[in-house]
Every structure is written in C-alpha cells, then in structure tokens.
C-alpha cells in the first residue's frame, strides 16, 4: 500500500549498487539481548495497532453481517460463510476478476516489454540522447498519479482533445470528436496507456542499470569467438538481467492488479459501472453499499490472491535482507 515510487527507487538503487551491497558485513552480536527488540518495538506496536488489528478484524467481519447499524453498535452478527457464498455466486465478482486478470497481463506485458526495449535503446544511443531520454523518463516518473490522470483527460477529451487532432493529422483515421470513453474496452485501453506511460521509466531505468552491469569483456570475448549478436544477447545479457526482470514483473503484477486511482478517476466516478470494474474499483464501491461484511469477504479474497502473487518478490527481497546483517 505504500507508494510505488519509493519501492521503485529502492529497487533501482539496489540494482545499480547490487554488487557492492552484496558483501557481507558480518554479524554483530554486541550487547544484543533486549536492545534489538526495544528498537523494533515502536514500529511493531504502531503497525500492529493500525494494520494488524484491523486485518484480524477484517477476517472476523467477513464472517458477519456488518452494516451501518452494526458499525454503530460496534459488533456484527455471525453468519458463517454467507458473505463468501454471496460473493462467489455473484457474476459481477467473476467478471471483474477475469477483466482484472486480462487487464493486468496486458499492462504488465506492455510495461515490461516496452521498458526493456527502451533500456536496450539507451545502451545504443549517443551520450546526449541518453541524457535527454533519461531526463524525460525521470520527469515522467515524478508525475503524481492524480495529475497524470487530469492531463490524460484533457488530452483525450472528445471536444478538442489533442490526441484526436494528432491522430487525424497523421491520417490514422478520422478522429474528429472521437469519444474515447464510449465503451469499456476503449476506457480501459486509455487507462492502460496511462499506466504503461507512468510505469515505463521505472522499468527502463532499472533494466538499463542491470544492463550496465553486464561485463563488457564477456560480450567482447563472445564476439571475438564469432558468436552472432543475437546469440551473445541471449546467452550473455539475458541471464544477467533475468533476476531484475523477475522482480520488475512481480512488482508490476501486484501494482496493476490492485490499481485504483487511474481507472477510477480517468473513467470518472459516475461512469464506473460493473461493465468496466477492476478489482480495486469493485472493492471501493463495496464501501458505498455499506455492506461491510460482504466488502470484507471480497477484501479477504483479494488479499489472499495478492499474497499468493507476492511470494516471489517477498522471498527475493528477504534474501537480500538476510545477507546483509
């Protein structure tokens, strides 16, 4: 739930400095005893109270009838698995889940593939183009989501959006007053364009950092041996950037699966309907039904899915954390 930004910057830094960081600093046991526990106590306490407790409560509420009345009474009525049954028998849930999966695959695929291509381009261009492109990427990276959405709305508005003008001028077709918000597919395509645009800098810069760690001698040696370019790329470069791509892909999956702000604001609250729901929005709308028990059941299902998907990423990061201490 923390921002994509710091996590992303952390990964980028980790990738850039990965090698030097990997060295062992040796375990320190100086006067251990209670000290480390006292040091982590405040964080554990705060997280336990503000996140741990509500999570436990979430599981409890998911097994209860819990509406506005129960919220005021401060306790729900046990109904067993009724909320889960209701959700799992709801076609909207399954359609939303399927749509979100397709959406996630498209978004992650486009972001990672285009980002990697951009990184490969960064290696091949002259220094001034590289600086120019990197500066542009960093600028895009720094745009707040809500701001980016507003700019997207302005560019795609049907009356005089610049996108329609440019597409018409480029003879892609007649886009005069084309309404991009007419169908769920078109709406979600716009959201995809926005998310890929926002996500590219992180992927491109991180993969570029990984590429710069590919030892030049290795590539040259392979080339001297007469290996063709694509083969050098496949056998030397790809294995070195694969771990980074794995992290990037799993992070992107987690982010895009739970995405909320961009689709919600770009499509616009009044136009968010079951026909264009993504999981994040579906959950958000549960809050308005004031049926918190059912909402909690959906939250539980969503969190379980996310937890399953984050195993790869968390394991990898934990390994980094274990090595250092």
């Amino acid at each position: 739930m923390s921002g994509r930004l710091p996590t992303a910057l952390g990964i980028a830094a980790e990738t850039a400095t990965g090698r030097s960081r990997r060295r062992r600093l040796g375990a320190r046991r100086l006067g251990a005893g209670a000290v480390p526990y006292l040091l982590i106590l405040p964080v554990v306490g705060v997280m336990g109270a503000i996140l741990g407790y509500p999570m436990v409560n979430l599981f409890r509420i998911s097994l209860q009838r819990y509406g506005l009345f129960e919220l005021i009474q401060r306790h729900g009525v046990d109904v067993g698995l009724a909320n889960f049954r209701s959700v799992l028998h709801d076609a909207v849930f399954w359609h939303t889940l399927l749509r979100t999966v397709v959406f996630t695959v498209a978004n992650v695929g486009l972001t990672v593939v285009l980002g990697t291509l951009l990184a490969l381009l960064l290696v091949r261009v002259s220094a001034w183009v590289r600086i120019l492109l990197t500066a542009g990427l960093v600028l895009v990276w720094s745009m707040p989501q809500v701001v980016a959405v507003q700019v997207w709305k302005w560019m795609t508005n049907f009356q005089n959006g610049v996108l329609n003008y440019v597409l018409t001028e480029l003879h892609v077709g007649d886009f005069f007053q084309h309404d991009w918000y007419a169908s769920p597919f078109s709406q979600l395509s716009l959201v995809t364009a926005l998310i890929v645009w926002e996500g590219l800098p992180f992927v491109a810069i991180t993969v570029y950092a990984a590429l710069s760690q590919v030892p030049k001698e290795l590539v040259e040696a392979a080339e001297i041996d007469g290996a063709p370019g694509w083969k050098v790329f496949r056998d030397v470069t790809v294995p070195i950037i694969t771990p980074v791509l794995l992290i990037l892909t799993s992070l992107s999956i987690l982010w895009d699966f739970g995405v909320f702000t961009q689709p919600y604001l770009l499509i616009g609250q009044p136009h968010v309907t079951p026909s264009n729901y993504l999981m994040g929005i579906y959950l958000f709308q549960q809050y308005y039904t004031a049926d918190f028990g059912r909402g909690a059941a959906i939250s539980v299902l969503m969190l379980v899915m996310v937890a399953a998907m984050s195993v790869v990423y968390v394991r990898r990061m934990v390994r980094i954390g274990e090595v250092d201490a």
């Binding site: 480390p36 979430l58 261009v125 542009g136 701001v147 909320f260 994040g280 958000f284 939250s299």
Partner: protein, 277 residues
C-alpha cells in the same frame, strides 16, 4: 564504419522521437496552463503560445479550499514523515546492526506489508477508524499513512545504516561513549543524508496518496490537495481546462522538485558506474 555511424544515427533518431512522445503530456500540461482561453478551447491546438497568461493560475488559486487543502496536505505529510522517520530509524538500526531471533519474520512483514493493495484495506481501516471516531479527521489519515510510510522507511534506512563502517562506531565506544552515545554521535550524522532521502520518499508518497484521502475525508475544508484536484473537473460539460492544467502544474511542482533531488543521486549512480562506453 559508416554503417556503424548510420546505425547510431538511426537509434538516436528513434530516441529523440520517443523522448518527444514521452514528455509530450507534461509539456502539454504546462503549455495549456499558460495559454489564453481562446487558444485552449480552439479545435486547432497551439503548440507554443506567443501570448502567455497567468490567468489560469489566478483562477485555480481562487477556487474554494485550495489553500486550506494545501495546508491539510502539508500537515498530514509533515506529521507522517516526522513520526515515521524516528520510529523507522530505530528499527533500521536493529535490522542492520543486530542479529536476533524473529528478525526474518520482521523482514517478511516489512516487505510483505508494502505489497498490500490499498483498495483491499479500505474496509478494515474504515471500520477501525469509524470505531475510534477518526473518520473525517486528519489524525485518522495520518495513522493510515504511517502504515504505508513505516515499512519502506525501515527498509530504505536499513540500507543507509548498513553503509556505515563499523570502525567509526567502535572508535566512538573506545572513547568511552556508551553504545547509545555512539549511535547518537556517530551514526546519526552519517545517516543524515539517508534520513533526508527517505523523508523525501515518504513526503512524495503521502502527498500523492489519493484513495484513503478520498474515502476518509469528506468535507471540502478537510481534504488534501490530490482530492481537491480530483474534484476540480466537476461534472459540467464546459470544463475550465486551462485552470485545471494550472492546478495540476501547481500540485505536481513540489513533487517534481523533491523527486529530482533524490533521483539525481540514483541517476548519477547509474551513469557514473559501469556505464562508460
């Protein structure tokens, strides 16, 4: 040789075109913000206006609650960052300098919590804050932001604490300081740049946050700047695009400035290293 030059020129051209496409939305936002009304509403876009105006910025600032909501954002962000830094620093020292049983579980939690989707936490956090009567208060929002800021601050600061040579610490202890004294005198100044960088990350995340601010604060005078901006569009057909872009520019400025500040370190780290050639 010439085919090599040719190929490089080709890649350079592709690079420049991509730069233009990537940066265009940001350019278009700023360009629109400074354009006179007739050029904003024209069907044929004006790329660079020869008659720049500040009118849209005046209009945006005159909208109700702008300054109030900026103030709310600043309060929420400063309190969140302040508390997060103190608590996270302590935990980061524990992670970087000690081995203890339970350490791995703590790491798993720190990493894992960051992966939880905000949308999945709306209901549990809302129900809890409603019980504590903290809905529609900045305190409630700060509590929620802490759960986001703490884990990544712990993780990021841990990296900075690790970077401190142990000789320095030991030297301080030989001088007769206690271990705590060594931390304060030696560690703190050395970690200061890390604290600044981490604070900036936390600042940006909290400033940009939308979903919880949207759910928890439902009173114009109590909202944050992102919620203010999201309501700007309204429902009318005749959106004041110029003012919206001016408002967007204003919202983005602090984030862009701070981001460039931190990113520069990392970007230079990338280019200064093994990239030559």
């Amino acid at each position: 040789m010439s085919s090599r030059v040719l190929r490089r020129n080709l890649w350079n051209t592709v690079g420049v075109i991509l730069f233009v496409v990537m940066v265009f939305p940001v350019f278009w936002m700023i360009s629109t913000a400074f354009k006179p009304e007739d050029q904003v509403n024209s069907f044929t876009p004006t790329w660079f206006s020869t008659r720049p105006t500040l009118q849209h910025f005046r209009d945006a600032l005159a909208k109700p609650f702008f300054w109030q909501d900026v103030k709310n954002s600043v309060i929420v962000v400063l309190v969140t960052v302040g508390i997060a830094m103190v608590l996270a620093f302590l935990a980061a020292v524990a992670l970087a300098k000690y081995r203890f049983s339970g350490r791995k579980i703590f790491i798993v939690l720190v990493i894992g919590v960051q992966m939880l989707p905000g949308a999945g936490l709306i209901i549990p956090l809302y129900v809890m804050l409603a019980r504590w009567h903290q809905v529609n208060t900045l305190t409630g929002l700060i509590l929620v932001y802490l759960t986001g800021a703490l884990p990544f601050s712990v993780w990021t600061l841990r990296g900075f604490v690790l970077g401190i040579p142990k000789d320095l610490e030991e030297a301080a202890m030989v001088d007769g300081s206690t271990r705590l004294g060594a931390f304060v005198k030696i560690l703190l100044p050395l970690v200061a740049p890390g604290l600044v960088a981490t604070s900036i990350f936390a600042f940006i995340t909290s400033w940009n946050e939308y979903i919880f601010a949207r759910i928890l604060l439902n009173d114009g005078a109590k909202q944050t700047i992102t919620v203010w901006l999201s309501y700007f569009l309204g429902t009318s057909r005749n959106t004041d695009w110029g003012a919206l872009m001016a408002a967007s520019t204003l919202t983005a400025i602090p984030v862009v400035v701070f981001f460039l500040l931190v990113q520069r370190k990392i970007a230079f780290g990338l280019t200064a290293g093994a990239v030559r050639g």
